[in-house]
Symmetry: C2
DNA sequence: CACTTACGTAAGAAGGTGCTTACGCTTTGT
DNA sequence: ACAAAGCGTAAGCACCTTCTTACGTAAGTG
């Protein structure tokens, strides 16, 4: 999971993921979408994404076709889901504790 | 969202988030959980988490109490959710295209 | 008012990241 | 066989992170 998080922490890599989410694209086409950065730079980003298992690579002649592999984000997604849910449950338990406390105090007054 | 991703990209900060997910803890208690790192280092991590709105800070005398704020992860969670879902839909559309293609070819043979 | 507690902040060192330019490799046309 | 297309890789540079040590600060304590 560490690799996946570090991979998507970089904005350009998230943008690449969006590009190859619905379409399989060759490295050159991906690089062409970034006007402010060189092709080798994109090549390096693609390597990071590939090593994090966030994209698949397929060779077709001299070209290399990339495509998003969302399963690679599964662990991170689960981590967030769990964190989110369990924290809300904790808030819920707290609210109930508070509620009982209020009831007790009211009872003492009566 | 960028701040949130960068914040949780660091393993120690994810660990801190787990520590203060269910309990409100003072900075010192958090630092004490990390035997291999100094207290100021944890203080710096707490600042990153606070600026990313992933923890809340409350002062109590000389102490500062921290607690996870899961709402700060909402955008990232949504991003992953959307990415995941739309990619699966794309796979679904592709499978259907393939299915129609197979049907056409079978029809031509008959 | 000193002293202690519980912190944050500053400065600097060490290592990592992302970029560019230059080069190498593999496949495909001629 | 030779050239071109389409990439990845290497080296070096600028910048950013994370850590440590040293110091500063606000709130309780005698």
């Amino acid at each position: 999971m560490q690799d996946a998080i570090e991979a998507i922490a970089e904005p350009r890599r998230r943008e690449i993921l969006r590009l190859v989410r619905d379409d399989e694209l060759p490295a050159g086409a991906i690089a062409a979408h970034f006007g402010d950065v060189s092709r080798p730079a994109i090549s390096q980003h693609l390597r990071v994404l590939r090593e994090a298992a966030l994209v698949s690579e397929r060779r077709d002649g001299t070209r290399r076709l990339y495509r998003a592999r969302p399963e690679g984000l599964g662990d991170l997604r689960d981590f967030l889901e769990q964190f989110w849910d369990e924290r809300l449950e904790a808030l819920q338990r707290e609210a109930e504790r508070e509620e009982r406390k209020r009831r007790r105090e009211r009872g003492r007054r009566n």
